[in-house]
């Protein structure tokens, strides 16, 4: 039995369909993140759950009650907006209790609820201030307070961290995660930031072009992306996608690429040859994450398939904790991640270890992953 059920939901503006037959079941206590590039339909979907946009067809149900046509304030949901949407003319306290007031909650109960939330979020000293006098992080807390005070069935977050600076964003991310763990609430969270999606969620729905591309746990999404879009979108720096040719020898399968000189390199694949039947000699897209291309000392000792090669380093980008390198394979830039103190310089011919355990291959036509 699902807590929030999105069943075959479609959104059309006139003749244009922007969201195509979306199905998601969210369990109680789950933290679902909708992630995708702008215009992918994630905010539209969130707004339909909130009741701010009409559902063209399909059903959205909360606790088995269909919500189509139900007024937003009657769905027992709360939302944290991207701009926080704090009422500028009301104090923080008023902002938090406005919804309760609208629902006819008596003043004593409102104040009690406000105190509780203010304690939890440590915004007690701010209650008499106006939103204009608050910092970005404080506004964010107030916006969450306004949502929490309603004690809703589902929390909706619409890119709540995108207006904060980088450092604060990381802090607030942790804060939100703590809150979720403590309260066990059900959350639907929209973001375009794949790191937020990975770190916060219990499940991720990657969206593009109005379709759910993949729905799964962060690990599933990262390790076994359904298609090239998901592979490229999730992870930073993003996955290297190389044109490769399949070579099958007995039970073993390998992908053949070329190094910076154009000399062929054979990379054994973690897949059995049987799953690639009929593809011997055909072209595929080989996906290797940057952290799988390292200096030999930095290579994962527990990895089963590691290939050593030498390649020319074009650019090095020391990032403090790691050093990212750019090198050329199959005529394309490839990013690798080395230890911070690996001795590499641009122009060097360096030894590289390629960990093929988590390599994935995609069909170049359908762009789907070959299992």
């Amino acid at each position: 039995m699902s807590f929030l059920k999105i069943d075959n939901v479609t959104k059309r503006y006139g003749a244009v369909e922007v969201l195509h037959r979306v199905d998601i079941d969210v369990q109680q206590g789950e933290f679902l993140v909708l992630v995708g590039p702008s215009g992918c339909g994630k905010s539209t979907l969130l707004n339909m759950i909130a009741g701010l946009e009409e559902i063209s067809s399909g059903t959205i149900a909360i606790k088995d009650k269909p919500m189509n046509g139900v007024h937003p304030s009657k769905r027992n949901i709360a939302m944290v907006f991207q701009s926080y949407a704090l009422y500028p003319n009301m104090t923080v306290g008023k902002n938090i209790t406005f919804g309760l007031e609208m629902h006819g909650v008596p003043k004593e109960d409102r104040d009690r609820a406000m105190d509780k939330v203010a304690d939890m979020l440590q915004i007690k000293p701010l209650l008499d201030r106006k939103p204009g006098q608050l910092s970005g992080g404080q506004r964010q807390r107030v916006a969450m307070g306004r949502a929490l005070v309603r004690d809703p069935d589902v929390f909706l977050f619409d890119e709540p961290l995108s207006n904060l600076d980088a450092k604060l964003r990381v802090d607030m991310r942790t804060e939100i995660k703590k809150l979720h763990q403590r309260l066990g609430t059900t959350i639907v969270y929209v973001t375009h930031d794949q790191i937020e999606a990975m770190t916060l969620s219990t499940r991720i729905a990657v969206m593009n072009g109005g379709y759910i591309q993949q729905l799964g746990t962060p690990k599933e999404i990262y390790d076994t992306p359904n298609n090239i879009f998901v592979a490229a979108f999730m992870g930073s720096p993003s996955m290297n996608l190389l044109d490769a040719v399949i070579r099958i020898k007995g039970p073993d399968a390998a992908a053949e690429i070329t190094d910076y000189n154009g000399h062929p390199i054979t990379l054994p694949l973690p897949l059995p040859a049987a799953s690639l039947a009929g593809r011997d000699g055909t072209k595929v897209v080989l996906g290797i994450r940057p952290e799988a291309i390292t200096d030999p000392d930095g290579a994962d000792k527990s990895a089963k398939i590691v290939v050593q090669m030498q390649n020319k380093i074009d650019v090095t980008e020391p990032a403090g904790s790691d050093t990212f390198i750019t090198t050329t394979m199959v005529g394309k830039d490839v990013i690798g991640r080395m230890r911070a103190d690996a001795h590499v310089n641009a122009g060097d011919i360096a030894d590289l270890s390629i960990n093929m355990d988590k390599a994935v291959i995609f069909d170049p036509k359908s762009e789907d992953r070959i299992v």
Partner: protein
């Protein structure tokens, strides 16, 4: 299991209806009093209405009569002279004032409101002031004579060949400050970095002004043109107060023509047809402008 979509509850349906109910009275009034009336007047322009509306259709007779009336051709010739000078001079003065005022002028805060205050006055007040100032017997000419410049001659307002230019003077006095405000806002909206870049590229003052600044004022030019031209076509009060259309018919404009034919000469059909021509003139300017403005916003 959630099945068929539930019907919208009462509150939601009401909430969806209220906005339209709120808008409805205004729309009803606009449709009746603006578009309904336009249709009505348009219809009258094809009838033989005289002192009272008649519904007897006579085709384009009023229009062909209209354009044979020397009174009307005088009016539209006057409008052409008035409008082009009014728009041209107001733009020129407005642009110069704005440009010079933008040179880090001390006392700008004092000068700006002085240039603009005539816009707050009624055209009737403007007309009263200028009527007297331009009166040769008592105004400017008289004063110059008293000051000893006895050959000074300025009696345009009494001269049917020149009277229309006095309307231009008074109208420019009233509106050019407004044009200044539009251009000044345009100048202040120009990105400073572009100007710095142009300076680095070695553009001199004049080149900078002509090649960088003026082209960026295009929206202000367009707005000024549209506003001034619609004011010009609608000009009525000023002529009434300043010259009453005279001397003779020297300063008649379509607006005064329409009024006198409809209400004093009892030629309602012809009056209506002149109003239709005025509307079409303004629509030719306003409709594309509004269309572009509203489309951009989307």
């Amino acid at each position: 299991m959630a099945s068929a979509p539930a019907q919208a509850d009462f509150k939601t349906r009401l909430q969806n209806l209220i906005p339209k109910l709120v808008l409805a009275p205004s729309l009803a009034v606009i449709f009746l009093f603006v578009y309904g009336f336009i249709i009505f007047t348009g219809y009258l322009s094809f009838t033989d209405s005289r002192i009272l509306p008649s519904f007897n259709l006579v085709g384009f007779e009023n229009y062909s009569k209209l354009f044979r009336l020397s009174h009307w051709t005088t009016s539209i010739t006057n409008l052409a002279i008035f409008a082009s000078l009014y728009i041209g001079i107001s733009t020129l003065i407005g642009l110069s004032l704005a440009t010079f005022l933008d040179q880090k002028i001390r006392g700008e805060g004092l000068l700006r409101p002085i240039y603009l205050y005539p816009m707050a006055l009624s055209f009737i007040v403007t007309g009263t002031a200028w009527k007297w100032l331009l009166d040769p017997g008592i105004g400017l000419e008289h004063t110059m004579h008293l000051w000893g410049w006895t050959s000074f001659h300025f009696d345009w307002i009494k001269n049917s060949d020149y009277a229309i230019y006095t309307v231009v003077i008074a109208a420019v006095w009233q509106s050019s400050g407004f044009v200044m405000a539009m251009f000044l806002a345009g100048l202040r909206g120009i990105d400073n970095e572009i100007l710095k870049a142009a300076q680095m590229d070695g553009a001199g003052n004049w080149q900078m002004y002509r090649r960088i600044i003026l082209p960026q004022l295009r929206p202000a030019f367009l707005s000024a043109f549209v506003i001034l031209s619609h004011l010009a076509v609608k000009s009525y009060d000023l002529v009434i107060a300043l010259t009453g259309g005279g001397p003779g018919r020297a300063t008649e404009l379509p607006a005064t023509f329409m009024y006198s034919y409809t209400f004093t000469r009892n030629q309602m059909g012809i009056g209506a047809s002149s109003a239709v021509i005025m509307l079409m003139t303004i629509a030719a300017i306003m409709v594309p402008y509004l269309y572009a403005e509203l489309r951009e916003k989307k």
